[in-house]
Symmetry: C2
């Protein structure tokens, strides 16, 4: 029975029941973490062979180049080729970096501020106002980069097919709007794959800003955990064909393919952008860790072999997502107090409570020893205008712990809803 249809007596009886359950869970002194998209230990153990794939000096030489020494700012040729195959672009459009694509994203924005981009009239630091489009719910670390530089963050609603493109097309008429954050495949947190139409409309944008920066974070490009690999178009080609060759910077990494703290990142962009950016990046670095790049290429080999590995990750991930979504389907769906999606890839389940319940639900979770991503984190400035979106990250805990954690979560969600309905 939906809570909304219950009488006050029924709600009070339910509140008493759920409160008891909550107290019982609290008494367990749990310490569980569903806060971040961290792979679990079983996933890390999957790839242990990468640790020793380079064992001798001669293993470190590739294409006549010693990966151990300085040089090759844009990365090993074989690493650029590997990423080009995975992303569907060209090797010369790929810059293989260090362990974090987030750092490459930050570097791009930072350089826009200090030096300007290829088509900037001046560095963004010299502008009175810079605005950036933030499809929301979205990735908190993206928004925090923009916020850190003092940009005005413009919330764009997410739809089933990606960002609300009518709103985006309208917004980019403002020359102060300098770019947009996108996680186009298995969006963080909703797990939405942008539709072909959405992608086409993005590629064909006619921004007033000549240096509009499309931040295309393809973080989950091969990260299906339910079903087969879903092909995805190369945004560099689409932008080029649409007459916007230099608008897009794409990012990805092996953080959730091999080791989260010790993977290899990639930035892909037009050859003109690559030339411009390597000119700037060459001031801050002689080269990134090519030994780790070579380790990765030898271990991952190519896209087909990578997809085989991703099937093994999927076998670990799917039961965790099932545990979350099946429990929500069973425990919460009948009560009518929240909605969510069943994603097929990525790292999150996005849940919307009734308006105004996200903060309270997560405060209760914390009380019961379950840490979740902070309420509001998926919106600009950390403020969810309807206080309803909750990002659930099921990847880190083992299934048994996860089942307890999601049990806690459902109890807290019910309690928050009952408190609200009883207070009316």
């Amino acid at each position: 029975m939906e809570y909304i249809s219950m009488t006050k007596d029924q709600l009070q009886a339910e509140h008493e029941k759920v409160s008891k359950a909550f107290e019982a869970l609290k008494a367990k002194n749990l310490k569980l973490d569903m806060s971040r998209g961290k792979p679990g230990k079983a996933q890390l153990d999957l790839v242990s062979d990468i640790l020793t794939v380079l064992a001798k000096p001669e293993d470190c030489v590739v294409d006549g180049l010693d990966a151990r020494n300085y040089g090759e700012l844009a990365g090993l040729k074989c690493a650029r080729e590997y990423f080009a195959e995975v992303l569907g672009c060209k090797p010369e459009e790929c810059f293989a970096g260090g362990n974090a694509s987030l750092t490459l994203m930050y570097d791009t924005i930072s350089k826009a501020y200090t030096h300007g981009l290829l088509h900037s009239e001046k560095p963004w630091a010299k502008l009175d106002k810079v605005k950036f489009l933030c499809p929301s719910p979205g990735y908190d670390r993206h928004f925090k980069i923009s916020q850190s530089f003092g940009m005005e963050l413009i919330t764009i609603a997410m739809t089933e097919t990606g960002p609300d493109m009518d709103a985006v097309e309208e917004a980019v008429k403002d020359p102060a709007v300098k770019g947009m954050w996108c996680v186009p495949k298995y969006s963080n947190p909703e797990g939405i794959i942008y539709s072909a139409e959405t992608i086409d409309r993005i590629a064909h944008l006619k921004p007033a800003a000549s240096d509009f920066l499309l931040m295309w974070d393809n973080a989950y490009c091969v990260h299906e955990f339910d079903g087969d690999y879903v092909p995805f178009p190369d945004m560099l080609s689409l932008c080029r064909e649409a007459g916007n060759p230099d608008m897009v910077f794409e990012y990805a990494s092996t953080s959730k393919i091999t080791l989260p703290g010790a993977g290899v990142s990639v930035m892909a962009a037009s050859v003109d952008n690559m030339k411009y950016m390597t000119g700037l990046l060459g001031i801050q670095s002689i080269s990134y860790d090519k030994v780790n790049q070579l380790r990765h290429v030898k271990y991952l080999q190519n896209k087909a072999h990578t997809l085989e590995l991703m099937k093994k990750h999927a076998a670990i991930m799917k039961p965790k997502f099932d545990a979350v979504v099946n429990t929500l389907d069973k425990e919460i769906a009948p009560l009518g107090i929240a909605t969510w999606k069943r994603p097929k890839g990525g790292y999150f389940v996005s849940l919307d409570t009734m308006d105004g319940l996200a903060k309270r639900t997560l405060a209760l979770c914390k009380e019961a020893g379950v840490v979740m991503t902070g309420a509001g984190a998926t919106f600009p400035y950390g403020v969810d205008p309807r206080d309803r979106n909750i990002r659930i990250a099921p990847s880190l805990p083992p299934v048994e712990e996860l089942e307890t954690a999601i049990d806690v979560f459902c109890t807290c969600l019910k309690l928050a809803a009952l408190e609200k309905l009883l207070a009316v």
Copy 2:
């Protein structure tokens, strides 16, 4: 006989002889590189065991933390402890980063521009003018970072004991002077160790700028190749004692201890600076490569063990420096056309020709197939006002190749001098 004392006939005879030697060398179609401070293959092979020091999942866990996963922005505890011992500061003052200290230096300056430092009134990007002190000859990549941000580079003369401190103390009275580059031990390129008095005067500077930034690049902190390890004071303590606790940022890395492209870097600063900078660095990175940090700590163990390894590097390096300096002593010293020092650590030999000969000498070297660091590179804007300083980097070529290269160099230097003396 010194060239300067030769008659025109003697000079012409010598010119003929040296020209022939030059043509003979050119005919060998050499391709030798003394341009950068790159370790040679024998040095890289020294540390091959580091490749497999982490082989199994359980090897990757330290202090209860799995180095493979996300987290620990400031680096593994054991890595911070390792660097603190090497540098003589405290673990909580150390930030263990990625593969390049250059990147940490760039990040510090970049954040001064975009966000300001701890004691900045505003971000440097908002200032009309930023000036930076560049003791010269110095490291080209330092100067290029400053230049890239549009700073005005102020040349400070280097003396036998470090930067000319009278000039430095005068210069910092200008509030637009925001900092200074230093390589205090085995300075690049001269191999000078700053004297205790110089260091003390630097620590006691009273800059007009409240956010004066002392860039203390301790790149060669354990890099003796001739004689025993030379202890060096902890600049963080000295600045703290002098009432300038937040003035200094120190940098170092294992690039020339283990693998140049795949080492670990460190930034050391006061705890207040550390808190401020990690707040900013946390926007651009979740964490650096902790697997590589752990690899390094397990392999290098501690300072004493590191110094043992450095003795092995020294055994490879010393014959190369001897080859260069002994040849110069034998071939060039009697001619009175250049001066140089015999360093005991670091990666370079710095040579001053007679005024106006550096460019021509290096152009001749290039013609004969020997690549050297570009003339002027050791001065701000790449312009050596007396066109005389040449940085020789003997580390990369094997000794046999090096002997040929230095032979070419001496021949070119003689030829350039003779051309000049005959043209008078």
